[in-house]
Symmetry: C2
């Protein structure tokens, strides 16, 4: 063994990062040890803090380190508008590209019963409660980037007397929302249509 | 602010990794929070352990979490052979590609006086001591992958009555040793020549 055991363990642990294989992990470990130990120590602290401190907002399921997230507690947001997204990254993309000032619901996944991701795992009971409260106006919810789940959500919305809408054509099918240019996303957001 | 502050701090901290920009850092943070918190916690531990526990071998300057590394304390290694490399990754590449069974000296950099990297920073006083001990046979040292530093090292070696050698032609100039295919490296290693 050329490496000290703790270096082998670090290289192995770095491979939990997406897109990082054995060689990249080795490069990262060398880089930190040779040039940026302070950065490595800071990253260790931030990781520990985030993995244990960040949970999900009790209302919208987005990442939060408090019971309710900053969007759900922001009184200047329009509570009659609701945008349902699969992942937090899609919410970030919508906030950056559009003027949307309503609330969100974050599924943290997409409906995929074969993978054990059913309505319960996506928090649809929580979404149902929220629709039943009647706070969402007749114009919402907007279902963004959840092709696989859209039909189910549209039915759910209609059961609660609200008219679901979807992003307009312009967003490529199956594309990840966060990789789409802002102009396209803003256009699709403005021209959204009734969900099937 | 969409994100909880601890998530923003994690994304910022991830950017200390080489090749990781804002968007990749965001993807990494989301991935860990959504799918692999245990992996994230383990990485935090391994980072803290490595940044504080790994130092440099007192004899060869390679990474080590003990005073002397496992290569320097391995009695089955031929102490009359010495291979000088710039970075630990080059040593890994040589071990994997060649049958070299001697010892190493790791500069942890290359001679670059304008950047404040002089003989002292590269531990050349330590290398001088080692040559003065007379343990290195007349055939060594081999200077691998240190084009910028080779001339200086060759002079140093000759002052101590040993004949320095260099890797044979075959290794591209300026290429990083760890990205060269094993066959080329093995050939260059076997056919090494006197250093200028």
């Amino acid at each position: 063994m050329l490496y000290p055991p703790s270096l082998n363990r670090l290289i192995e642990a770095l491979r939990c990062l997406p897109g990082v294989g054995a060689r990249t992990a080795q490069r990262m470990a060398h880089h930190l040890l040779e040039r940026n130990r302070d950065g490595g120590r800071r990253l260790a602290q931030r990781l520990a803090e985030a993995m244990d401190g960040i949970g999900n907002c009790a209302r919208c399921r987005n990442f939060s380190d408090t019971e309710l997230c900053s969007v759900c507690t922001n009184a200047s947001r329009d509570a009659s508008l609701l945008c349902v997204v699969e992942m937090p990254a899609a919410q970030v993309a919508i906030e950056q590209a559009t003027g949307y000032r309503g609330r969100y619901f974050v599924l943290q996944g997409r409906l995929s019963p074969l993978d054990g991701l059913g309505p319960r795992e996506l928090g649809l009971d929580l979404l149902t409660e929220r629709l039943a409260e009647g706070e969402v106006g007749p114009e919402g919810p907007l279902v963004a980037g959840v092709e696989a789940t859209a039909h189910y959500l549209a039915q759910l919305a209609r059961q609660h007397g609200v008219r679901p809408s979807r992003l307009a054509h312009g967003v490529p099918l199956g594309g990840e929302l966060e990789y789409i240019d802002r102009g396209t996303l803003a256009h699709a957001f403005g021209a959204r249509q009734d969900a099937g």
